[in-house]
Structure formats: C-alpha cells, structure tokens
C-alpha cells in the first residue's frame, strides 16, 4: 500500500497523534515499505478457524473488592484533582 500524506494524516487523527510535517512524510515512506513487506501474506490461503489451544477464556465472579487506601491515594495523586475527582480539559 502506498500512503499519501492525506492517508497518513487520517491515520494520525484516528490514533490521536499530533505529528509534524517531517514525521508525516517519514511515516508515509516507512509504512509504505512495511506494508509492502506485509503484503506477502496475500499469497497465503487461510481461513480464521481458531484451533484448540491451552489458553482459553477463564471467568470469575464479578465481585467488588476493597482497594487498599494507600494504593488508591498513590494512584490518584499523580493526576490533577478537584474535590476528590480527576480534572480533565473541556470536552465541549
């Protein structure tokens, strides 16, 4: 796949990445080369049957457990807070 600057800008927007013009151009070239290499997968005939394997879904009860207070304080101490809540930028 050959990526144009507009394609790369679109992907960057989806990925929530602010990229400089130099980065857009570099990633355009590199992603073109990498996907050209990946495109060899087209020659493989494969369906998506998942075969038996050791790992499988493991369920447990959805229980409410107490979170150690010190841990909670440490986790929350690193964001901006107001009245016990995390503060974020304006959404609208």
């Amino acid at each position: 796949m050959k990526f144009k600057t507009t394609d790369i800008q679109h992907i960057a927007d989806l990925a929530r990445l602010d990229l400089t013009p130099a980065e857009l151009s570099m990633y355009g070239k590199q992603l073109s080369a990498i996907t050209a290499y990946i495109d060899q997968l087209r020659e493989v005939k494969a369906d998506i049957t998942i075969h038996n394997s050791e790992p499988h879904n493991i369920w447990r009860k959805d229980e409410v457990l107490d979170w150690e207070d010190a841990e909670k304080q440490m986790a929350l101490a690193q964001g901006k807070r107001e009245g016990g809540l995390l503060k974020v930028k304006r959404v609208l």
Partner: protein, 488 residues
C-alpha cells in the same frame, strides 16, 4: 566478594552456609552498578535504600533458619514491570514521572521469596524494539563491545546480568525481547509459555504474546527463577491454572533419545556464515549426547515476521490508547480542548518507534483494511501454530539460531525499521504460538578484534519448560561458553 563470578545457585550455597550475607551481596551489586553502569547505561533507577532494607529482612529470615531458592539474591527488573512506590517509565517520556501504585505479580512473588530488587533496567520504549536504541533515556551499551547494542528490548537487563551488576534480571518477551538480548550478551534468556507467568503489572504491549521471564548466567538459574514466578494469578485471567513444576529437577538427566528438530531453511541466506558452521558443529555435539537430529519443515514460519508486525502493532495501538495525559504521565498544559490535549500529549510523549507502531496498528485495524491485514494475519497465525503442532508429532524440541548475527553496531539499523523487525526472524514464531523457548550461549565470533557471543534457541511444546530446560542444560554442560565474561 566478586559478584561477577557467581551464579544464583553458587550464591545460594554461600548464603546458606553463612559465608556471606544478603546485605554483603547487595552492597557488592550496588558497588558494581556504581562503578560500571556509567559505561553501560543499563539501569534507569537504582533503589539502594530499598534494596539494603530488603537485604536486612532477608538476612533476618536466613538467620531464623528459613531457606528458599532466591532468599537474599539481588536482582534487577525491566522498567516495564510495575514496582510499588518506584518510578516505572517503560523508558518513555510519557511516563517520565509515573510512580507505580502496586507491584506486578512477578515482583510480588520475588519479594515474598526474599529476592532483593536493586532497581529498574533500560529497554526500548514500551518494549518496542530489538536494540534498546528506542529508549527515551539513551541506548544501553553491550559489555562485549561498547560500540554495539545489547539487543532488545530487554537490553538493560541483559547488559546488567552479564556485567555482574546483579545475579539475574527480569525481562519481558513479546516477540524475542528476552531471547535476542540473551544471544547478544552470552546469557540464558527464558521466554515461558504464554500463560505460565502472570502478566499482571506488566505494561501491556501485545497482550496475546506478552510474557515475563528471567535473564540469567546459567540454565539452572533460569529454572530457579521460573519456579518462583510461574503459576496461576487471579489478577491475570490468561494465566494458566496448571501445577508449577520444580524446573531444576530434570536438569542433570541428559538427552539420550531426545528428538531435536531442525529446519534446514533456517540456515540459508541471511545467517552469518560463522554462526551457520558453528550450528552444524553443535548438532554433531548434541548427537554425541544421544540426541537424534531430525529435519523438519515449518512451511508457514516464513510468514511469522509479517504476521507478527500486523498483530503486535494492532494490539499496541489499542493498548497504548490509555496514555492520554490524564491521571498520570506527562501533560501538555497549553492545549485548548480535549482532542488537541490528547493529540499533543501523545505526539510529544511517545518516541518515533512507538508512534510508528501505533500508526501501523491503527491502519491495520481501520475500516476497509482490517480484513486484509488484521484478520488475515490472525488466520495465518493459526497456520503457524498448526505448523508447530505438526512438528511436535515428530520431534520433542526444535533448535534454531537465536539471531542471524552477533550484536550490531549502535546506529546502523536505527533508520531502517524493516531491518530491525527482521531481527525477530527466528523468534516471533514461538511467540505467536505461545510456546516456551530459551536462548542459550552458542559460541563466539571475532569481529574487529572483539569476541562477540551468539545464541541457540530451543523451542518446546506448550508448558514443557521442564523438557526445554533439561535440553538447554545438557547443551550448556558440553561447552564452557556460559562461563565467559566480558572485559570492558
């Protein structure tokens, strides 16, 4: 005491017989770090105070007659594993000041066993890389030749262990990140089966292949660490509820009658000529030990790198979406609204390779392309798994070179992401299939007057770590490569 020369097993005897204390071992390691790490840049954080306090606790336990394989043994952990109260950066600017509020399960288990955490080691940012050059905090140097990379992404852990800064180190391996640096630094690097060791508290890269494991100076040491860190964890639903073996039990049993599979096409173009010849010699040596060498085919293994570089970036683009500058990590204050806040934090906080992988993964999962890329890669991944299942009908373990060449020079591959991805050519298959694999010292080649190590990789069927380590231990015993240390 010179920590350079001791394995965990040897240090264990010294501790148990009272010849040395955990505090003395810890001080020896801290002195090594102080003296040598300016040259290597293998540590991102050293917690001398915490380590000495832990060493005193270990000495108390030893004094009361308690015994345990890792009680009083100092180690370092890759800085992508959460360590309570200590900075955990993943070698990224976006987590520059992040203090982990809890311990990863592997750290917790080692703490309970009385192992002593000395600090945190350097890595490629978020473990994305094969050279440690992608760290936001500078490259780690290879102790065998300071102008070369130690491999990656667990390059800091590898350099630290071979340089004698600690007795073992934890790494993580998503597509080769324990095995390749082990090969470049002359160590044993064990990637356990997917699900054998808890991923809880390992900052996610590719959740379907992430594993944590040890880098050690001997196979026995790897077995000792695995026996402590393995097992079911209620916080990681993908950890397997299967009994944990004593992985040291069979190490002396030998490999008489063992069928070792070799894929001849692995030895074609791309592999260093000296390494190829040495590989052939090693096969003869293993035959002498009673193993049977069987030619096998893994027809889809040539697709493992392209599959890996679709699936991994896809999982990365999803896993790293959580780094938004809210709650922790760096935060760009001047942005006007939430969207530009996200984009600026992520644009400035992540390094070039992380952004490249997020972009690639976002593309591979995007509308119109997901079928051709992500779903196709998952389908081929199933064929790669089947390849291994079929091969293990004919053989007990598979042997490959770990990397196609010894450590390369710092800077030579840094602008060629595709060349860097091909570092994983022998490694990504076992990761995609979830299989246990170990890299062991395979020999040395001389380049520019320096002896550079390389490694052999053994791969075993799912959960067959005991068989894997027994095979590796037999190989280790018939040469003295693992006893060689770098002078730098």
């Amino acid at each position: 005491m010179d920590a350079h020369v001791l394995t965990i097993a040897q240090a264990r005897q010294e501790l148990d017989s009272g010849n040395v204390s955990a505090v003395e071992l810890t001080r020896a390691c801290l002195r090594s770090i102080e003296a040598l790490d300016d040259k290597l840049n293998s540590c991102l954080l050293v917690d001398a105070e915490g380590a000495l306090a832990a060493a005193e606790r270990a000495d108390e336990r030893l004094g009361k007659g308690e015994r345990g394989s890792l009680l009083g043994i100092p180690y370092l952990a890759k800085d992508i594993l959460m360590t309570k109260g200590l900075r955990t950066t993943a070698a990224s600017k976006i987590l520059e000041n992040y203090i982990a509020p809890f311990n990863a399960t592997v750290i917790e288990r080692l703490e309970k066993a009385g192992a002593i955490l000395l600090g945190k080691t350097n890595l490629d940012e978020f473990a994305h890389g094969a050279s440690t050059e992608n760290s936001a905090y500078g490259v780690t140097k290879n102790p065998w030749d300071l102008s070369r990379v130690p491999g990656g992404s667990s390059g800091g852990s590898a350099a630290a262990v071979v340089a004698g800064l600690c007795f073992f180190a934890l790494g993580t391996d998503t597509g080769g990140s324990i095995r390749q640096p082990a090969s470049f630094c002359n160590l044993v690097g064990l990637k356990p089966s997917y699900g054998r060791v808890s991923r809880f508290g390992l900052l996610s890269m590719a959740s379907s292949t992430d594993t944590a494991g040890p880098l050690t100076r001997s196979v026995e040491d790897a077995a000792l660490v695995l026996s402590v860190i393995a097992g079911k964890d209620k916080y990681d639903a993908t950890s397997l509820d299967l009994p944990v073996d004593d992985y040291t039990e069979d190490l002396q049993q030998g490999i008489k009658g063992l069928r070792i599979g070799v894929v001849r096409t692995d030895l074609n173009e791309g592999l260093d000529e000296n390494i190829r010849e040495s590989f052939e010699q090693s096969l003869l040596a293993l035959q002498k030990e009673g193993a049977e060498i069987v030619d096998i085919e893994l027809p889809y293994s040539k697709y493992s790198v392209p599959v890996y570089y679709v699936i991994t970036p896809s999982e990365i683009s999803s896993n790293l979406a959580r780094f938004d500058g809210i709650g922790w990590g760096m935060s760009v204050e001047e942005s006007q609204n939430l969207l530009s806040f996200y984009k600026e934090n992520r644009g400035r906080g992540f390094g070039p390779e992380v952004k490249r992988r997020i972009m690639l993964g976002t593309f591979a999962l995007s509308a119109g392309y997901a079928d051709a890329y992500y779903k196709k890669a998952q389908a081929v991944r199933e064929l790669i798994k089947l390849d291994f299942e079929n091969a293990f009908q004919q053989v007990d373990v598979i042997l490959t070179p770990t990397a196609p060449h010894p450590a390369f020079k710092i800077g030579v591959q840094v602008n060629d992401p595709l060349a860097m991805y091909l570092e994983d050519v022998y490694l990504s298959g076992a990761s995609l299939a979830g299989l246990p694999a170990v890299s062991v010292p395979g020999g040395f080649v001389s380049e520019e007057g320096k002896d550079l190590p390389y490694g052999w990789q053994f791969i075993a069927p799912m959960m067959q770590e005991k068989l894997l380590l027994k095979t590796a231990a037999t190989w280790e015993k018939i040469n003295n490569y693992s006893k060689r240390r770098p002078n730098f």
